[in-house]
Each structure stands twice: as C-alpha cells, then as structure tokens.
C-alpha cells in the first residue's frame, strides 16, 4: 500500500526518531511510504488556543498537501484528532464550505499509527523485538477523540521480549494540553506529578505513548527528576527488531 506520511511539525523538528521509526516499520511491513512536500503544521495549537483565523491558512495548506493521497498516517493521536475533528470546523467557521468538504475527506483517510496498523492493514503482530520493561500511557486524544481503544496495547503485547506493565490510572491526562502547560503551568505540573508517580510505581524503564507531545511533557518531567525512566514513542518500539540497534 502507498501511504503518505504526515510527520507533524513536532516530530519533524524535535522527535524525528518517532517519524523515522514510522517509515522503517511500514517499509518493513512491505508498504511504500511517501512524504508529501509542502507539509508543515496542522494548526492544532492555534485552534486549541483560540486562533482559528490564523489556523485557516494552515488548514488550507494541509488539505491541499494531502488531498491527493488515499491513506495518510501520522505518529500522533492529537494531530490526527485535529485533522479529523477540527479542520472542517475551522473551514466552516470561515465560511468556506468547499474547503470544509475537502477537509472532511482528508480527515476520513488520515489515521493514527495504531489505527492504520490494526484497522487498515489488519496487523497486530508487527514482528518487533524490544527487551525492556515498558508501561503505556494512552494519550487523551487517542483515547477519547479517536477512540483507538486497546489497539496500541494489542500491538505492544505482540512485541517479543517486552515486559509490558499496566500504568495505574492510565486514562488520566498527563497535564500537557498544548498551551495549557504554559497558561496553567501550576495545574499542569500537579497533573504531571501524579502521572510521573504512577509511571515510577510500575518500575518501567520506558514509558511509551502514541504522541510525541505528551511524551515530551512526561519526559521533560522525568528528566527533571533524574528518574532514569525514558520516554519512547510507540512507533520506535514497534520498529525495533532483534537485528536493529537499540536507540531511544
């Protein structure tokens, strides 16, 4: 299958390992990955902070860039959530019904990685090998906006060598929330403290999730604590094989 990668600006700029892993994993499974040029940012942060006018050109750009492709994947639940649930709204609010229709179309063929693997490609065992103690944080937008359910866990359970441990109160938000982490830094930090407490309780070496943004938040806190626990994107675990060198 020919799959267009929507890398997301955060993974592109700060967490390329997650994006590279997505490419390597899909290619290993026999698919062709293309990277549509001209893609930048979906505008989620603008929409969620109250700047829909400024987001409009980004929505336009995103829709124009991805409209030609049949299947689009992103290593981020929240960016897929924005594309699927917010782009058409931004277009409608701007009075552009044509753009709204095209945005709906792009949204309907854009998948978060675990959705693509399980729902579209029908795979739960990607043949990965990852000999570490891992706990999984289901990010809010994957869980409640996209309803990915236990798809990421089904994928992780099939990874060879993994010691997967349940995260207590897993469905509680880590406190990131985009600009929430800045505008309400104290509350965000209090939420993060509890999330980190639960991660540490599990004794895991690695905390994984399907969103680089939440991982950046949890990882930033764990690093400040000098906890030794690493944050690793789900794609990187699924891309790991016994022959691939371990990276994080």
């Amino acid at each position: 299958m020919r799959i267009a990668l929507f890398v997301t600006c955060l993974a592109d700029t700060m967490f390329p390992a997650a994006a590279k892993a997505t490419v390597q994993l899909l290619e290993r499974l026999g698919h062709e990955v293309v990277f549509p040029p001209g893609q930048t940012c979906c505008g989620q942060m603008h929409v969620n902070t109250g700047y829909q006018d400024q987001a409009l050109p980004l929505v336009r750009r995103h829709v124009r860039t991805f409209a030609p492709y049949d299947v689009i994947v992103a290593p981020s639940g929240s960016c897929v959530g924005s594309v699927r649930h917010q782009h058409a709204m931004v277009a409608r609010n701007a009075g552009d019904a044509g753009l709204a229709a095209r945005a709906e179309d792009v949204g309907s063929k854009t998948y978060e990685l675990s959705e693509l693997l399980v729902d579209v490609l029908g795979i739960e065992d990607v043949g990965a090998y990852y000999p570490h103690r891992v706990t999984y944080h289901p990010t809010c937008h994957s869980l409640r906006m996209l309803r990915v359910g236990d798809k990421p866990l089904r994928l992780l359970r099939n990874v060879r060598g993994i010691d997967l441990v349940d995260l207590p109160d897993a469905d509680q938000c880590c406190g990131f929330g985009g600009t929430f982490a800045i505008k309400n830094a104290d509350t965000s930090t209090a939420m993060l403290a509890d999330k980190m407490g639960h991660v540490l309780e599990t004794g895991a070496e690695v905390c994984t999730a399907g969103d680089s943004s939440c991982l950046m938040h949890i990882g930033g806190g764990l690093s400040r604590l000098d906890s030794g626990v690493r944050t690793v994107h789900l794609a990187e675990i699924l891309a790991s094989t016994s022959s691939s060198s371990e990276e994080s």
Partner: protein
C-alpha cells in the same frame, strides 16, 4: 447597563456569584498549595467515580439514555417560548403564581418582596444553584431576612463562612475531621462529645435543624425539572431536608432557570435514570418530590415559581455554546476532571465550577468577564464522556477560546508562527534555528511556565525532513 430591549443579554455585574476575584491560574496557584484540599478532593472524586461507574454499568441502555437526554434537551431549547408558555399556564391553573425575572436583581427583588409579604423574617432553603448564582441569600440578608441552608453540605459551608466548591457537594473540600471542627465551633447547642463519624455528624445536623424546619413558614427552593405539559416541578435530594422545605411551610418560592424545562411527563423517565447514576452514583437518590401547583390540605398553600433568565438567553444565542444549557447539574464532569480534582471549585470563581463552569460561566457573564475559564482545561475530553446529556464540553471550550479577547503579544506570536508554518522555506529555517536553543534550561516568560518543572527536549542533530531528503 443599557441593553437593546428584547436582545439576549448577559448576567449583570455587581450581583450574584458568577465572577471570581482573580483569573483561574492565580486562584489555582493558591489552591494547589493546599495539600489537605488535594487529598480531600482526590479521595472524594475517586469514590464517586467508582460508585457512578458501577451503577451506570448496570444499565444496558446507558448510551441510548444519554442520546435521549441530549436530543430531549436540544428539542426543548428549540421550543422554549412555547414550552414556557405551557408551563406557566399549567402552574397557574394548578394554583401557583408564575413570575419572570430578567436578571439576578429582578429575581432577588421578587423573592424578597414575596417573603416580606408573608410577614416572616426567616426562610428555609433547599440547595439550589440558581439562588446561589443570583446571590439570593445576600439580598435577603440585606432586607433583614435570614436564609437558613438546610442541605448538610450547604450548612457546613454556611456555618464555616465558606464558599461552595462543588455543584452537588458544596463542602467536598472538607473532610470529616474539618466538618466536626466547624460543627463544634459554630453549631449552637452541639454535643461537645461529637466525633467525626459521618453518621454522628449527620445526626448533629438533624437535631440542629429540626426545630427550624418545624417553625419556619416560608421556604425557597430550586428545581431539577419542570414539566411543561403538566406544570409539575421536581426536586431530587437525599437527606429529607428538601421534603421538609417543600411540604412543611405555608409558602414555597421556587427559583428556576428557564432551561430546566422538559416538555412532557414521560421525559422524566429519561432524566430520573440519568441524573442519580451520573451524580451521586446511586440507582436512585433517596428522595424525589414532585408537586403541581398547590394541593389542598397537603403542603404549602401558596406557591410561587420564579423563572430566571440572567444570561441564559445570551447562552442560547450562541449556536455552539447553547449546549451548555442542557446541563442537569449532576457534577459528573467535575468528578472526572483532572483539573478540578487538583484545584477544587473555588479557583473557578463562579458557583459553577469544573468543566461545565468553564463553559457556562463565561457565556452567562460574557467571555470578557471570565476570560481565563475557557483555558482552565487540558482538553482531555473526560468530561464529554462522563456527561449524561452528552454536552461536548471540549468543543465548546475551543469555541469560547476563539471568542475571548487575546493578549496582544500572544496574538502577534501566534500570527508569526502561523505565517512561518505557511511558508515551508521559513519553517525549515526556523527548525534549524530551534537547535540554537539546545541546552536552554530556562525559557523567558511566559514560556518559563514550562521550564519551571520540565526539562526541554534536546533538539535532534537533524530534522526528519533533512533525513528524508538524504535517503
């Protein structure tokens, strides 16, 4: 305030309890310092989430009931003028008197005048969000009328000179030991040997209020539901204080928001299943009272219904935000909210705290008066899932964020970022510039909110698109 007659209008300033003294982040900062508050809230919300989840799980048709509740409320809002007319006619025919209050000031005036006309100077009250919203107790007090709160949690708040912090359990921020101390300090005639056993605390409230119930001739209540088709009002409660107020006095005055209406008697079969399970986590609350006007020989022989606007029509005017009027005040969104669980209700500044408060208060007052509330959420979406009438709170938060006045510097920054992101060459250049921030441990304001508790990630040696270009 001058307003165009007949145009939807927000709640007036200077009266009632819809506006806080400081923005949410500042109030939250203080609340977060209180470890006892955090423990009390964590304990209480965990308990209620577990109970509610269990009884919701017993119903095979919970999702269908939510859908019915949601569509019923939307249907009601679209037919509000006709249904209010019908309610008024049916209440009047059953011996009640209906009053219309355009805002808090008018409602307070109506109630004060009605109480004065009875010649009494004390009223007993059933817990009511509407009367808290309009600051009725303060207005009555100013007119020399004592208002006695009879709900246990309201009593704890009133005796403790405190403010309510939760829609359903206004004293949720207090644990049993604190409640015992408030009772020992403030409750006349309390047994000094009182322990902090919840049953004993409840018993103390029973003894304290009994004489007041028996001797007070006027009661003020809110209403959970009003049925247009029959003129019937319903109050759901637990303790029996509601039954006392609704049946013992000679005069009953009910203050109700215009959105509390349901079209038909049958519609209660939906809400009486949704509300208790979502709210207290019970299959049914201990007591529900329903009355239609006046029943000769049974209960108050004078019944007044005050229909309150106070900003509700302004909410109704917003096609996206009007869903907030569907709220049945169950508090489920508070109980699942990670922000509420940590800051408590006082930080929201309004009688409506938590996620529903973050969308309702700014709409009732106009967003400029509660501009920080739409941001008091990480948009995690737990509230939407918990809402028994499926109010899409996260979408309304995003919508309101688009309406609030934005700080100029922030607006400029977002504009610059959007411009950059819409020009791939600039974007690529900015990506490379990001590497310069390597090893930055502290960012300038407002971004220092991040680095106060979180490290920044190390920028990678090459971006994804650089790597891709080299393949």
């Amino acid at each position: 305030m001058t307003t165009f007659l007949g145009m939807p209008t927000t709640a007036p300033r200077g009266v009632g309890n819809l506006r806080g003294d400081e923005p949410f982040p500042a109030a939250a900062h203080k609340a977060l310092q209180d470890g006892q508050l955090r423990r009390n809230l964590g304990h209480a919300t965990t308990t209620i989430r577990r109970k509610s989840g269990a009884v919701i799980g017993e119903l095979p048709d919970w999702q269908e009931l939510r859908e019915a509740g949601s569509t019923l409320k939307a249907n009601t809002m679209a037919r509000l003028p006709e249904l209010l007319d019908q309610l008024e006619a049916n209440v009047t025919a059953a011996g009640g008197v209906v009053h219309w209050a355009a805002d808090a000031n008018e409602a307070n005036e109506i109630v004060t005048d009605l109480v004065k006309a009875t010649g009494h100077d004390r009223v007993i009250k059933v817990k009511s969000m509407a009367t808290q919203e309009i600051g009725l107790n303060e207005a009555l007090e100013a007119a020399g009328i004592a208002a006695v709160e009879t709900d246990l949690a309201e009593l704890i708040v009133q005796l403790g000179n405190d403010k309510p912090s939760h829609i359903l359990v206004p004293a949720i921020h207090r644990n049993r030991a604190e409640i015992r101390e408030i009772f020992l300090r403030e409750m006349p005639g309390v047994d000094p040997a009182l322990t902090d056993e919840p049953a004993e605390l409840a018993g103390a409230a029973r003894r304290y209020l009994r004489e007041t119930f028996l001797s007070t001739k006027v009661a003020v209540s809110g209403a959970n539901f009003a049925i247009a088709e029959t003129g019937t009002l319903a109050v759901l409660e637990s303790e029996g204080n509601g039954r006392m107020c609704l049946t013992l006095p000679e005069t009953l005055i009910t203050v109700m928001g215009i959105e509390k209406l349901v079209p038909t008697w049958r519609d209660l079969e939906v809400f009486l299943q949704l509300l208790p399970r979502a709210s207290t986590g019970e299959r049914m609350n201990p007591y529900t009272s329903m009355w239609t006007g006046v029943t000769p020989g049974d209960g108050p022989q004078n019944f007044h219904l005050v229909l309150l606007d106070n900003g509700r029509t302004a909410v109704l005017a917003d096609e996206v935000g009007r869903q907030a009027l569907h709220c049945i005040r169950c508090s489920a969104c508070l109980n699942v909210c990670p922000v509420y669980e940590r800051t408590g209700g006082h930080a929201y500044g309004s009688v409506y705290p938590g996620p529903i408060g973050a969308i309702l208060s700014p709409q009732l007052t106009g967003v400029e008066d509660n501009a920080s509330l739409p941001y008091a959420s990480s948009l995690c979406g737990a509230c939407f899932d918990a809402c028994p009438v499926k109010i899409d709170i996260p979408s309304i938060l995003v919508h309101l964020r688009n309406e609030v006045p934005h700080p100029r510097a922030e607006k400029a920054a977002f504009g610059a970022v959007a411009y950059t992101m819409d020009h791939p060459a600039l974007y690529t250049r900015a990506q490379h510039a990001a590497k310069l921030s390597r090893h930055a441990k502290k960012l300038p304001p407002p971004l220092n909110g991040w680095t106060a508790s979180r490290d920044l990630p190390e920028p990678p040696a090459e971006t994804f698109r650089d790597w891709w270009a080299k393949r």
